[in-house]
């Protein structure tokens, strides 16, 4: 067999002369881009990931800058506006301070018969008086927010009176600006309900006393207020919670807690995992074996069970928020996943040709770690970190649900959702807002994680 190339033409001496230097052929027509620049460009093309990134920036701003813009104390209780939905009417009329009422009809309310008002009805008190009903053994007073129809569902039993005489009652129970239907049902001699009842429709408007207006600083511009004037109660853009605390301010302080746990805990345990995994992977051999066996033990601990156990063991002392125990428990329990991942990566990279080449060229360990190991695992670590945030936030919410979360009065989105759950039928805003924030955060980090994974081309098993 002969060489076809050599056969065609004989080589000459010129063929072995070096070529003239031509700088243009080494020129790179596009600017040189590092791995990270490249990834960033790819990420920017991913619309979902970018929206998520901006959402996360927005959430952080909400938590950190929000309280500067909305300077309302999240612990301040507005007892007049408990569980107020957003956008509810805030007007209140100024009335004299509450005074003890002995059951006599006040001026303007004398006369009349049956169940009737004994004084002007407002959110301070509704004062009812009634005449004796012949043959009655007693009375039961009900209050309803719906008119009474044939079904005779009278609503809330407010009070019971065992004597048949004429009587009076002062109702101060959670009066809101609404129309109430009071029914006085006659009882028979044995104390059982009869079919005999009288209904009184009472419109109630919201009132406030001058002292309260001053104390709460509701009308700083109008110092010359008098009884009968109208003021507006404090504004709560997202409504209030079950103690009349401002939802927006609570959500902001809750955001600090939830995002702190959600971001700092994963950051710490990923860091720990990276250090552990990298050490094990890099040192290899016996050390690696021992270290990874220990990691296996920790992985085998049932996560949620131990999360709860640790919460109990660390305990939440007086005045503590309970954030620290949760943080520690998360770090203690969650690091091995990252450690295993990083170790795997390092072991793999150690086998790569470019590492061998580098070593062959005399690179020292420090250089190898710094130049090859870290940059090449960084993508995986970053993606792990992003996906760890949602699970940390869910863990916090879950612990709050079973009553092992942050301690009152500290708010977190999880604890707020849990409290809102109990009130979801009548005051859905107390559940919707915190849950929405949890969902948005979880979603944003998930989508960003997806984007990062694609952009960094980090292949990994993300399900743990």
């Amino acid at each position: 067999m002969t060489n076809p190339v050599v056969n065609q033409e004989l080589l000459t001496a010129e063929d072995f002369a070096p070529l003239a230097h031509r700088p243009d052929i080494h020129g790179i027509s596009r600017p040189s881009r590092s791995y990270w620049q490249d990834a960033w460009i790819r990420l920017k093309k991913n619309r979902r990931a970018m929206v998520s990134l901006w959402l996360i920036v927005g959430l952080l701003a909400f938590a950190l800058i929000g309280p500067l813009l909305w300077q309302v104390d999240p612990a301040r209780q507005d007892i007049d506006q408990i569980s107020q939905a957003p956008g509810a009417d805030r007007s209140a009329t100024i009335v004299p301070p509450y005074e003890f009422w002995g059951g006599q009809a006040l001026s303007g309310f004398e006369g009349g018969s049956g169940l009737r008002l004994g004084a002007a009805a407002n959110s301070q008190a509704v004062r009812l008086i009634w005449d004796a009903v012949p043959g009655a053994g007693g009375y039961r007073l009900y209050r309803n927010i719906f008119p009474i129809d044939d079904e005779m569902a009278f609503g809330l039993p407010i009070a019971e009176f065992p004597n048949a005489a004429a009587g009076f009652y002062e109702d101060r129970l959670d009066l809101r600006p609404d129309t109430y239907f009071y029914s006085l049902v006659t009882l028979d001699a044995d104390g059982r309900l009869t079919d005999d009842y009288q209904v009184l429709e009472v419109p109630v408007n919201r009132v406030i006393t001058l002292d309260e207006v001053r104390e709460r600083n509701l009308a700083p511009e109008a110092p010359e207020l008098a009884v009968g004037d109208e003021v507006f109660l404090a504004l709560h853009p997202l409504g209030t919670d079950y103690l009349g605390r401002d939802m927006l301010a609570r959500l902001m302080s809750g955001a600090r807690v939830s995002l702190f746990i959600g971001i700092v805990a994963p950051f710490l345990y990923v860091l720990l995992g990276v250090a552990y995994g990298a050490t094990a992977g890099f040192l290899g051999g016996k050390v690696d074996q021992v270290m990874m066996r220990f990691a296996d033990f920790v992985v085998a601990l049932p996560f949620l069970l131990f999360m709860i156990l640790f919460q109990v063991v660390f305990g939440i002392g007086p005045g503590e928020s309970g954030i620290l125990p949760m943080l520690v428990a998360l770090v203690v329990l969650a690091w091995p996943a990252t450690a295993r991942l990083v170790r795997g990566q390092i072991l793999q990279i150690r086998q790569e040709a470019y590492v061998s080449a580098s070593r062959l060229l005399g690179a020292r360990s420090g250089y190898l770690v710094w130049r090859h190991m870290i940059p090449n695992t960084m993508g995986v670590i970053l993606v792990t970190l992003t996906f760890a945030v949602p699970s940390a936030i869910f863990t916090e919410a879950f612990l709050s649900f079973i009553g092992m979360g942050v301690a009152p009065p500290t708010a977190s989105w999880g604890s707020m959702s849990n409290e809102g759950l109990a009130r979801m039928l009548t005051h859905p805003h107390e559940l919707i807002f915190p849950s929405l924030f949890i969902s948005i955060t979880v979603l944003a980090f998930n989508l960003l994680g997806d984007g990062l994974r694609d952009a960094l081309d980090a292949r990994m098993r993300s399900f743990e």
Partner: protein, 566 residues
């Protein structure tokens, strides 16, 4: 040639059809699997699942729920309300409370209490659910076993009025020395350490219920652990108890007063305390009675449910730590805190459930006095809300304590919803009105009790439920020797009044003593009253005669019946 898009389309369509086929098969297999599972489950479970509705007219049975799983049904060990409720249906003591919380005969048809000697005559037709005659020995056995230190019954103290009971319970004297003996099968004689006025009321308590010795020994330490591990002598008997899931009671044919019982069965088909779940179960007509939270009232009115309210008898209060070295030992500080809070606001605005009352006294409104109720005869001292006066007292407290600022106070509370709300409410009230910093220490129930015992708090959200229908069940709470006085309040004058109330048998003298105790506690601000707990509940329109009581079973279905349309 087809365009690639249509070709893709047709591929998608046929692939989609294939997928649909798989989905269909998968669903079919799943359904078959579940049916077979159902079959297996039906074979293994006792069939007590909540399949039935709230009212089962055919079987004359109703379905209810239990707030939690009863720890066990051993009456000698039971401490909680749920066990008490079930035991109130399946067991009966010598005496019992009727629907008005008055004492009526139970297993004893009559009784005499003369000075230190009480004699109970057990009825001839008293039977256990296996047909055995129920005798006085069954009571003697149960009481002595409960007092046995090895039993470790938390409620053993309730026997202490009996001669030598306390000494026997602490192991200083043999059990035989306890002053209770069965003279014959039908006579139980009790010697008391001293004459007491309320022994009949005590005897109706759960721990005094009988236990048959032979059966108890046969269960090998598992008495009350399962439905078949106990004997019943009450109106009902337990036929099944699926732990954590359901508990079923049927009418006991051997019960002496069986005519009184109108239901044939009670099916506690659900065990949960999740208020939303319970509301949903009631809406779905799965349970006959449900307790409502304040947030559910609006919906209940819209649904036109029949609502009732009931006070469960418990009083809740902020207790102070009176131990040496605590700032809360200072009267002026306590007074300042007392005056700085409005008792009505917590109940009317924050808890906002009808039935709750501001706790103006340690003695709740329903307690009986000499003629009328105790509180009508001995009105609770008025407690006006007065911030200005409160601040004066605070200044005085600071001077007395030699402090320029009161250090932050630790408020211990448990993690129940109402405690969570109350603690945060008080925290803000004291901050706003007095500038006091309150540090909330929220702990689980057990940990709160442990911290209370060790005195690791300044103030604590606490409560007390009555054991028997006599003011003494509240009055001795602040006695210096009472271990439940966890704030270690110590006042010899109060102690002497408690002694009078314990030993006197004259109603007026005792009530006067209680009146004095009420006054002293108020003047000394031993505690700040929060509320008397109430409940609002809805009952299925067909179910009548359900009674809720302070003593015995909290829900009493023994007189309940189903009203049919015709």
């Amino acid at each position: 040639m087809k365009s690639p898009i249509t070709s893709d389309d047709s591929f998608t369509r046929s692939a989609g059809r294939q997928l649909a086929r798989y989905a269909f098969i998968a669903v079919a297999v799943l359904v078959a699997l579940m049916y077979s599972l159902n079959f297996v489950a039906g074979l293994t479970s006792t069939g007590a699942g909540g399949a039935a509705g709230a009212v089962d007219v055919e079987n004359n049975e109703i379905s209810i729920y239990l707030r939690e799983e009863p720890p066990q049904m051993n009456s000698m060990l039971a401490t909680d309300a749920v066990s008490g409720m079930v035991l109130g249906h399946v067991m009966e003591g010598l005496l019992r409370y009727d629907e008005n919380d008055q004492i009526v005969p139970g297993m004893a048809e009559r009784w005499e209490i003369n000075g230190t000697r009480a004699t109970f005559h057990i009825r001839e037709n008293a039977r256990w659910s296996n047909g055995d005659p129920l005798t006085a020995h069954d009571f003697e056995f149960a009481w002595k076993t409960a007092l046995d230190p090895a039993t470790g019954s938390q409620y053993a103290f309730i026997f202490y009025p009996i001669l030598n009971a306390e000494a026997a319970n602490t192991g200083q004297m043999p059990l035989d020395s306890v002053g209770v003996r069965a003279l014959d099968d039908h006579t139980l004689e009790v010697d008391l350490a001293q004459p007491i006025a309320y022994f009949d009321k005590l005897v109706a308590f759960v721990t005094f219920q009988p236990v048959q010795e032979a059966f108890f020994n046969a269960t090998n330490g598992r008495y009350g652990a399962d439905a078949d591990e106990m004997l019943y002598n009450g109106p009902f008997m337990m036929t099944s108890w699926v732990h954590g899931a359901s508990l079923r009671m049927v009418k006991n044919p051997y019960y002496w007063d069986a005519e009184r019982i109108r239901l044939d069965g009670i099916n506690a088909a659900y065990i949960t305390s999740d208020s939303n779940t319970l509301l949903n179960l009631y809406k779905d007509e799965r349970i006959a009675v449900v307790d409502l939270t304040a947030e559910m009232l609006e919906g209940a009115m819209q649904q036109k449910w029949q609502l009732d309210r009931f006070m469960d008898g418990s009083v809740f209060f902020v207790d102070f730590n009176h131990r040496e070295g605590r700032v809360t030992g200072n009267l002026n500080l306590r007074k300042a805190m007392f005056l700085a809070q409005d008792g009505n606001e917590l109940v009317d605005r924050v808890i906002k459930l009808p039935g709750y009352l501001p706790a103006k006294s340690l003695f709740p409104v329903w307690l009986q006095g000499v003629e009328k109720t105790f509180r009508e005869e001995y009105p609770a001292p008025e407690s006006p809300y007065n911030v200005a006066l409160a601040r004066e007292h605070l200044e005085r407290a600071k001077q007395e304590l030699g402090l320029s600022e009161i250090p932050p106070l630790v408020m211990l509370a448990d993690t129940s919803p109402v405690a969570t709300i109350s603690s945060q409410y008080y925290q803000e009230v004291f901050k706003r009105n007095l500038g006091l910093d309150i540090i909330i220490d929220a702990q689980t129930f057990q940990q709160r009790l442990a911290k209370m015992d060790s005195g690791d708090f300044d103030i604590v959200l606490s409560g007390w439920g009555p054991d028997y229908n006599d003011p003494l069940t509240f009055a001795d709470l602040y006695a210096s020797w009472n271990l439940n006085n966890r704030g270690r309040y110590n006042n010899p004058v109060l102690d002497s009044h408690v002694r009078v109330a314990q030993t006197s048998t004259d109603t007026k003298t005792r009530m006067d003593a209680f009146g004095e105790i009420q006054r002293i506690l108020h003047e000394d601000v031993a505690y700040i009253g929060n509320y008397e707990r109430g409940r609002v509940y809805a009952t299925h329109p067909q179910v009548k005669g359900v009674i809720r009581r302070v003593f015995g079973a909290e829900y009493d279905y023994t007189g309940a019946y189903i009203e049919t349309a015709d």
